[in-house]
């Protein structure tokens, strides 16, 4: 058993055939020469122009020069980050879809190959490519060190971080590639997703610089943006008395993220055979993240800062002033849990929908079957949403109790209630959309529209009517926005979470009730078809 596992793992990471093949092709022909040439030209060109800017300041004070050199280094690193952000998603996003179009995937999977082996191989090829880009940039980075804008440790940590970020974007690309049917669609979706990730992580990273003050000690979020590796790379966080480099923490987070992307892609490629593995991993990860981030950095309210206050610089500075040791408020914790779970919005429609996609059927096999929680059937969707929410909230609660300042349950529970209601509502909407019978694609489109109307449209509308007013986000009209209880502006109360939670359940029940008859009809037609 163990021996077999070791053998499989060694085979996956050493001499992976998919990686070798991809790498061979990547380096072949004029294409790579053109890409590398262009890359170097841009890099050296920008470096030169920047350097001339620094040089022209001759005669000004030493500190100004030093500052310019530092910003020279930052610019070079940001440029490298830009290259990684631009190049890696495209490499990965095409990987699977091109093979699907060429129909070579069937051949690969008729060999004794697990999806994991193949996906890891693809990813390794991309990762190696990223390092090639970074090593090509070494002379420019060396110039920074020689001139005094940075030291070698800065460069090394920045490179490692950039390679990790590239890996994460490649994993996104790989996942999108497996679920897409068209090349352009895959590339477009990958870039959009990567842009969102870069934006959000950059906001967190930027906010993180407001924290921590002694030298290189910073919250690990500062290392989460590829564009801030110059300043955020060579920093550390103190964990139980140890100075842990932030690239280690962010690297670990990214590896978890990559694993989830690969499991997702693998479950698509294996025709659902890996769904169980994927869902169990998600459950464990949400529990661990809930636990770890509830109290990150010894009471600096990591999770809440990380997920919510991080989006609101005003709140951050308030938090920073209040300093370490402040007890965690139920509202902050509950809000943090909600936002930790929020990415689930990308899959709630997929897992709840039923209907046909042209290849097969996803049968409406009931509304709530706890036994199916880890299988890919619609009856397991709601139990799974419930499970994820529960482990995240429990994880947070357990950590606060262990650290001796247990959160106030009465104030905390309404947020749990709110979160469960939120997912139940989206689930019910999917059920209703599915029961119309337009197929899986139509269902997903309907649900995305539903989300936009529910979550995005009010923001635009309320902002418009409040435009020009002092403190536009504190107007009472925002109370009508369903995410109000978990927004980092103003002072949300657990009471509003409770009210919205109840509303969610009523709305969900209504939507589900509407779908029951149609679903029954559909099940009947299906049975007739099969008979």
């Amino acid at each position: 058993m163990l021996q077999n596992w070791i053998r499989q793992t060694r085979r996956t990471y050493f001499g992976n055939a998919a990686a070798q093949r991809d790498f061979r092709v990547q380096l072949r022909g004029n294409r790579s020469i053109i890409v590398f040439g262009l890359y170097l030209a841009i890099l050296i060109g920008v470096a030169y122009i920047q350097y001339r800017g620094v040089e022209s300041q001759a005669g000004v004070s030493l500190s100004t020069i030093q500052y310019s050199l530092k910003s020279f280094y930052s610019t070079i690193m940001a440029l490298l980050a830009g290259m990684v952000v631009l190049i890696t998603p495209a490499l990965a996003a095409t990987a699977i879809i091109v093979e699907r179009q060429r129909r070579s995937l069937d051949l690969v999977f008729s060999a004794p190959v697990e999806p994991r082996y193949y996906l890891v191989g693809k990813l390794m090829a991309v990762y190696r490519y990223i390092w090639m880009l970074l090593i090509l940039a070494l002379p420019v980075a060396a110039a920074c060190v020689v001139l005094g804008g940075a030291n070698w440790l800065d460069v090394l940590s920045a490179f490692i971080l950039l390679s990790f970020h590239g890996l994460a974007y490649a994993a996104v690309g790989l996942y999108v590639s497996t679920i897409s049917t068209k090349l352009i669609g895959a590339i477009g979706r990958t870039y959009i997703t990567v842009m969102v990730i870069v934006f959000v992580t950059s906001v967190w990273a930027g906010a993180g610089f407001a924290f921590g003050t002694q030298g290189r000690e910073r919250p690990f979020t500062v290392a989460m943006s590829p564009f801030m590796v110059a300043d955020g790379g060579n920093t550390y966080t103190v964990l139980s008395g140890f100075q842990v480099p932030n690239w280690v923490l962010v690297g670990a987070l990214i590896l978890v993220f990559v694993r989830m992307c690969l499991l997702g892609a693998g479950s698509v490629l294996s025709d659902g055979r890996e769904i169980k593995n994927l869902r169990m991993s998600w459950t464990v990860i949400m529990a661990v993240i809930g636990f770890a981030l509830s109290n990150f950095g010894g009471g600096a309210t990591g999770a809440t800062f990380f997920m919510t206050r991080g989006l609101n610089p005003g709140a951050i500075s308030a938090q920073a002033v209040s300093g370490t040791g402040a007890s965690v408020a139920a509202g902050d914790l509950g809000t943090g849990a909600f936002w930790l779970l929020f990415p689930f919005i990308f899959s709630i429609f997929g897992v709840s929908a039923f209907g046909t996609d042209g290849h097969g059927w996803q049968r409406p096999n009931g509304w709530f079957t706890p036994k199916e929680v880890f299988s890919g059937t619609p009856a397991g969707a709601l139990p799974f949403a419930l499970l994820l929410t529960t482990v995240t909230f429990v994880g947070q609660y357990v950590n606060t109790s262990l650290s001796g300042s247990a959160v106030n349950v009465v104030a905390y529970l309404p947020y749990y209630f709110y979160s469960v209601g939120f997912w139940t509502l989206l689930w019910a909407a999917t059920r209703l959309a599915s029961s119309i019978g337009g197929g899986l694609k139509a269902t997903q489109t309907t649900c995305v529209l539903f989300c936009i109307i529910l979550l995005v449209a009010p923001v635009v509308f309320f902002s418009l009517i409040n435009a020009g007013i002092d403190k536009p986000f504190e107007q009472p009209v925002w109370n009508f926005y369903i995410l109000r209880p978990v927004l980092p502006v103003g002072t949300p109360t657990f009471l509003s979470a409770l009210v919205y939670g109840v509303l969610f359940f009523f709305a969900a029940a209504a939507l589900y009730a509407l779908s029951i008859n149609r679903t029954k009809q559909m099940t009947r037609t299906l049975e007739v078809d099969v008979a």
Binding site: R21, R102, L107, V108, S110, H359
Partner: protein, 308 residues
């Protein structure tokens, strides 16, 4: 040994394969015949573990496709009805890639690649890019790929489509050779005659159901239990009918001007009586020969050709 047991596949409401069962021994070359949409590809893909059967299973040398797909994959070579080749690699690189996927140890790979290239007559193309090969060569490369791990079972889905007659006959030779090496070979086709002369077993599938399974001759006989003779006469044949129907074993005689078609089921002695009667009756017998059993006819008769 391959045992296929009540394989069934449903797509939504459509039953593509409906309880197909058969058994093959090492060295068997099985011709799997059916019209478009009959369910050949679906069956083959289920045996190759690429499709999960709705019910039923297939067992190859003790490994079940549902319980142990990895073991099955190690001992099959699947050649689909499309190429699915990578065009940006060289022939040997392509084979090396698959040899690695099939867990052939690195030091054995060059030898294995040379062997399969020789078997498929591609040795001269070893360093050519895949995209530069002709269609026939690409087909052979696909076959070479299926052989890198020396599988016990080969699943060839319409391997002869798009090949010229010469390439077809070369392919046949190759398949016969593989059978001689003790492999089970499953070859699918629309056309029975194309397979009849080198398959020792034939199965005819229609609308997902196996209509007939067995040796080629058995199947033909089971479809055409009566033999028929054609006689050409100088004079009009109508007059010979009463004489002939009196002979034991003659079932039915039809005449078409000077040609007679005699359906017969009897012994050799009785068969000899036919010629004797025609000569002695003075009908001017020009020739008498047994009607060839036309495989195409058998096939068309068996299958209604109307799929879904």
């Amino acid at each position: 040994m391959l045992e296929v047991k009540k394989l069934r596949k449903e797509y939504g409401g459509l039953t593509a394969v409906n309880g197909v069962s058969f058994e093959l021994q090492p060295g068997d070359i099985f011709g799997f015949i059916g019209s478009n949409g009959a369910g050949k590809t679906t069956t083959i893909r289920m045996i190759s573990t690429l499709l999960e059967p709705t019910s039923g299973t297939a067992i190859l040398n003790g490994h079940d496709v549902r319980k142990d797909p990895m073991a099955i994959r190690r001992s099959i070579g699947y050649m689909p009805d499309f190429f699915g080749l990578y065009d940006d690699v060289k022939v040997w690189e392509y084979l090396d890639f698959f040899a690695a996927l099939y867990e052939v140890p690195p030091r054995d790979r060059p030898g294995v690649i040379d062997n399969v290239l020789e078997l498929t007559d591609l040795t001269v193309k070893r360093d050519a890019f895949v995209q530069s090969l002709s269609r026939g060569m690409q087909q052979r490369l696909c076959l070479a790929r299926c052989l890198v791990h020396d599988p016990a079972l080969l699943l060839l889905d319409e391997p002869a489509s798009g090949l010229d007659p010469r390439a077809r006959s070369e392919l046949k030779e190759l398949i016969v050779e593989l059978g001689r090496m003790g492999k089970i070979v499953i070859v699918s086709s629309h056309i029975l005659p194309e397979l009849a002369d080198f398959c020792n077993t034939v199965g005819i599938i229609e609308r997902g159901e196996m209509l007939a399974f067995g040796g080629v001759n058995e199947i033909v006989r089971s479809m055409q239990p009566v033999r028929a003779f054609k006689a050409s006469l100088i004079r009009d044949g109508e007059g010979a009918i009463p004489t002939l129907t009196r002979i034991p074993g003659v079932l039915k005689v039809e005449s078409n001007e000077s040609d007679l078609r005699i359906e017969f089921e009897g012994s050799k002695e009785q068969q000899a009586e036919i010629a004797k009667a025609l000569v002695e009756g003075g009908f001017g017998l020009l020739g008498l020969r047994e009607e060839e059993t036309n495989l195409e006819d058998v096939f068309l008769k068996l299958t209604t050709g109307a799929v879904n």
